[in-house]
Symmetry: D3
Subunit: 285 residues, 6 copies
Amino acid sequence: MQKNIEKIRTLFESLPYIRKFFNKTVVIKYGGHAMIDDSLKKSFARDIVLMKYVGINPVIVHGGGPQIGGLLARLGKESRFVKVIRVTDNETMDVVEMVLVGKINKEIVGLINHFGGKAVGLGGKDGGLIKARRLKIKGEEMGYVGDVEAIDPGVLAVLEESDFIPVIAPVGGDEEGTSFNINADTVAGKIAAALNAEKLILLTDVAGVLDKDKKLISSLTLSEARALITKKIAVGGMIPKLQCCMEAVVSGVKRAHIIDGRVEHAVLLEVFTDAGVGTAIGLKK
Amino acid sequence: MQKNIEKIRTLFESLPYIRKFFNKTVVIKYGGHAMIDDSLKKSFARDIVLMKYVGINPVIVHGGGPQIGGLLARLGKESRFVKVIRVTDNETMDVVEMVLVGKINKEIVGLINHFGGKAVGLGGKDGGLIKARRLKIKGEEMGYVGDVEAIDPGVLAVLEESDFIPVIAPVGGDEEGTSFNINADTVAGKIAAALNAEKLILLTDVAGVLDKDKKLISSLTLSEARALITKKIAVGGMIPKLQCCMEAVVSGVKRAHIIDGRVEHAVLLEVFTDAGVGTAIGLKK
Amino acid sequence: MQKNIEKIRTLFESLPYIRKFFNKTVVIKYGGHAMIDDSLKKSFARDIVLMKYVGINPVIVHGGGPQIGGLLARLGKESRFVKVIRVTDNETMDVVEMVLVGKINKEIVGLINHFGGKAVGLGGKDGGLIKARRLKIKGEEMGYVGDVEAIDPGVLAVLEESDFIPVIAPVGGDEEGTSFNINADTVAGKIAAALNAEKLILLTDVAGVLDKDKKLISSLTLSEARALITKKIAVGGMIPKLQCCMEAVVSGVKRAHIIDGRVEHAVLLEVFTDAGVGTAIGLKK
Amino acid sequence: MQKNIEKIRTLFESLPYIRKFFNKTVVIKYGGHAMIDDSLKKSFARDIVLMKYVGINPVIVHGGGPQIGGLLARLGKESRFVKVIRVTDNETMDVVEMVLVGKINKEIVGLINHFGGKAVGLGGKDGGLIKARRLKIKGEEMGYVGDVEAIDPGVLAVLEESDFIPVIAPVGGDEEGTSFNINADTVAGKIAAALNAEKLILLTDVAGVLDKDKKLISSLTLSEARALITKKIAVGGMIPKLQCCMEAVVSGVKRAHIIDGRVEHAVLLEVFTDAGVGTAIGLKK
Amino acid sequence: MQKNIEKIRTLFESLPYIRKFFNKTVVIKYGGHAMIDDSLKKSFARDIVLMKYVGINPVIVHGGGPQIGGLLARLGKESRFVKVIRVTDNETMDVVEMVLVGKINKEIVGLINHFGGKAVGLGGKDGGLIKARRLKIKGEEMGYVGDVEAIDPGVLAVLEESDFIPVIAPVGGDEEGTSFNINADTVAGKIAAALNAEKLILLTDVAGVLDKDKKLISSLTLSEARALITKKIAVGGMIPKLQCCMEAVVSGVKRAHIIDGRVEHAVLLEVFTDAGVGTAIGLKK
Amino acid sequence: MQKNIEKIRTLFESLPYIRKFFNKTVVIKYGGHAMIDDSLKKSFARDIVLMKYVGINPVIVHGGGPQIGGLLARLGKESRFVKVIRVTDNETMDVVEMVLVGKINKEIVGLINHFGGKAVGLGGKDGGLIKARRLKIKGEEMGYVGDVEAIDPGVLAVLEESDFIPVIAPVGGDEEGTSFNINADTVAGKIAAALNAEKLILLTDVAGVLDKDKKLISSLTLSEARALITKKIAVGGMIPKLQCCMEAVVSGVKRAHIIDGRVEHAVLLEVFTDAGVGTAIGLKK
């Protein structure tokens, strides 16, 4: 009995957070380790279902994974990379879309439903959700690498109203129906902005944003974030993630987070504890 | 961090219960120790708020308390009791209604709102919720002691739709607007039946229903419950409580519970753990 | 037959008023003689029911009555008054709330329902309707005498939509759930403003506002009302009533009325005749 | 003042009737003297507006009037009658429809709107309201005299929901769009049945149904009504009116009335007094 | 089979127009030859039904026809004309209203319903749709010739929501319920403006607006239209039609059209082909 | 102009069909040649968009195509077939799901959107649409070949209400989220039954059902269809298609069709002409 009472007490520690985020939208970029490790995958799916049941509206945007490389390798396709972006020819795009939309997306949908949610997977062409255009990188021919031209959140609104959980693959289409591979962080940021989300959460494989002494920074204002980039304290892959968060905050998202997806229940820890995990970017600390 | 992860894990243990009772109505008779002890009062109010936030619809029916006796004593009124029921003359009825509706009810409303809920207190006359008639006890003149003639759940439906939590004092009115003091268990049972509630929970000051060896019985079918009464194993105040639960189950309430309100978070323990607390009465075990 | 035709003709004289106030909200401060005299009580309840049936939305705020003093006296509590306001200690506040919410409010609800309406009684804590703060009077410790900090009309909207008639006791709560006794005129004025009411009607025990020759003034602009106060023509209890009306008109209420509640059907006479009764305050005459 | 109080008192005598018929539908066949006399016309229009404002849903079916004969005469058309029904050739039908739909109907609409209602005039073809078929009278060629084949009350429901008052001319159309002149009593009865109306009221130019001593019968059961016909106490034009009422009652209309339209405010007298006017036909007295 | 495939191909040529006008309102002034010729009448009714089925909301305003003159003639009434407008005395107005509302309107309603639509005919008094005032022509007494004072589109909105097709006769009423004969082009233009229509289409008996070489002008900007009038290229009856269109465009109607109603399916040709028929007036070509 | 009038005339020939199928659901199994040939693909997408715009609700279930075999071949996987069904091991299932959901489905969605529709692609796991179970074939181990256990049409209803066009890949999931490859005809039939569809249309690469003289049978009752199977006139792949149609009709689908997808606009020809194409199965001819 005593153990049960302890449980209930713990339950109450979440109540203030449940109240705070009741009926709010949280867009989560799901990727990295959390999307590969079997135990983390399950824990993520359960996090999402729990959020939905306590009245929060999660929207998931997932990235690609080793499966894309795996299938390309088996097919004997080699990829060239420009600034870590895979140059995507026609055949590669086919593989990317098949793996993202036909495999990873449906695995996530299946897991969420298995744990009691009602997920619906979407590619960017579904309902015209993500209108894409070719990404221009000076002097480079990137193929079917795209950027977000516009988000039409209509289909998301319809699904959320009926308590479905949207799970989105980062593949957009242009007017002709051509598919483009888009960076998932970018898609998540744009969708968070279009939905006026309360939070944008980027799941990464690092602890968060580090200061020059390699210590975790728990929160940043926009100008502090900008300074980190100018002073070259933030480097490498962290720069586009920071920029994505800053842009989302400027577009009206309340708070953007770069968190450590390797930690079990990272998303819930972020939403349901004061300490949170990783780094938060907002207009105010 | 590890502590926070433990918390989140605990949170998940409630998920199956949250899913099970999502959008269901739970009618709780609130009384006894749980309505007197300061710490239990707060814990009860928080239980209710948490239930509402995770999608369950609680409806509270409260009993009277020592305050009725206290005020009567201060006014020099003495009461006669017939089978533990207070014979209620006109002046006593005034005191009963003032204390129930004007003091206890509003304290509960105030506490629930303080913890983040939106409670609305109702007497049985409000919206014609409880239509009362004089309770007949053979050979006795009971005064303004009443019984439930009919429940009009209209006002409850309207409040629930807008996420208000109804808190009901067990005072009914007849066609002429005369007030009657009604047993709170009876009111709770009738309201649970009228709302087709998932659960009726009676908070008491005992562990639950005991067998002849004074050991707690955790669940009873209707016929088992009936046997307890016939065989005189259930005695005293437990008999009307058992009858109230049995009647509710017969009228369509899924499960009725007699639980120990002296235990902190008794309501949540009942709803959110398999073991539960106290005794459950249902069509099946 | 001829008598019946006369009746129908009379009915028609109300039609222009019914049309004018169709679907409009009228907030009525109910108190004084009209709340004590048995025949006036019934006639008031019937006035309210009739208004509702012809499409007007009445909202009632009632005051206290001799019953508060009566119960205090029986309990041997004596009250100190500062500027006619009862200094309210903890125990007195209990009595005030019990009598207002548990007795007077439910009597009104019962009478209205008896005559065919569907009234729901509310204290200011219900649904967070009246958020109170301590009333400051320089140099005085008034105890639990409060002022309106904010009105949350949500619960009123929900009840009106389903054709319930709200009856409000002038007791507010602060964040901690502490109860405060608030002047009923003030509550009525603030609620009228929050609801954008068509009319605020204060039932009093005088004929209305009198000019310096003690003759009834039938209508006043805001500046005329102000002049009456500056020139000390309005004195005593009339001043706060005038100020309450003026504030309501400034906050958007179309017309505020100080009328004579000792006249049978005073409210309907005000609403359904051109002459009206008492004094009207508006932006224009 | 006293006079005004008297008025208000009178107002209250209607309250029980207002409550009784709140939100109910009353179908009124409007015709005869009440549709010719200028003062009765106005009083009828005002009756309808008042009914609507106190929450009753009136639906009006009007008959023809001397204007049809007048126009036919001016055009030099003579009519043959079979059992008081005008044999209607093509050209006559044109005149009938023009006068009913284009003149009488719009006059009624105009008057009701003038007194503050929102009437919408309809012929039977509008929205497919009245599907007509040729009336067969053995051995006679009646031309464009029709009977009701079916009522499609869709357009009435849509108008009532938005508080419009439907005013219906008794002209139906068949599948080919051919117009038929139908008896207005018949149309009123069929529409009352299709709407499950509370009341069907036939305005006539007689006091009501008379017994063999020429005294007004105030109420009749179905079998009593039948007896009047069999025993030939009811004669002439009264027989089809009685039959129309009986059929309506059998089809579910609560009560059907044959009343004296020459009395001012006859409709309101029927609805708002116990005595009523004329004869009521119902399942019970 | 090949023939059927050809048909389907043709069907596709309409798809872009169906998409363009989906859920848009098109107000059509119906008159002239198209309202007299039997074959054109049917083809018009079918045009309207088809438009409705493919998701366009047509609203029809019809004019008068030779039937007015015919009936006046038969009644021996002679009319005086001022600038082609019939001076309308009381008796003439009766004839005008009877023919417009009671004959022409219902014929159109009947035809549309015959072809599968659900039309509802309205005069301007119905639901207070067209508030009229006396038309002033300097130095002339025009009688019951009116102008549009205001449009209350409430009844149209209610009908459209339930997929009824409104058919409107150009007869308005003033506050007293007096009827006025109004030019149908004017009514159509005002209604198009009040409904924020996508298109106003005036069916005429000419090819459209002609240039000084008598060649059809297919589209006009507002300033070009104005120039045509100033330079006296547009003359006679075309001037008020042009002005009506220009006023509609200025009031927010997207495009106004003067088209040749003598051509079968003129309305559909205008809506469903790029070439259109007749002359379009818009802010841009 | 004459050509345009011809076009409009053609348009009208579809009106009776548009009326007949207004607001009805048509489930189409899309596959075979029509899903490979570039010109047929476009024509199919346009057919679907047109149907939607004229008020019909199409739901598409697509099959697989040569792309599955192609990718398996490139990966060096060989498949064993049992009664033309591909035995599906784990790795093969991955390829099947990727190609069906990630490639073919999104191509169809892209094409429909390109032509102006709003399609949303779904796998059977999305929203729990298709609950699958392992298909049992006696004596054979088929791997991840599944059968439909249940359809949950919730997500389809939500999408249709907002005018999205569902495009469904025939991959179901069981409770554990395991994917199963299901025959597309079967899925289409079950979905048609679950939606109470007006029509089920199976697009094939044959003319329809042939009689013993190899002549096309244009319509079949259930018993005639049964006879074709018993008498072995229907053979090979036609048998399961016939059974699928018969089962759908028994489950409440009005009419099921086996049509020739090699014909351009086959779907529209079926829906919009009397002759139709291929073979119809219904309760009556």
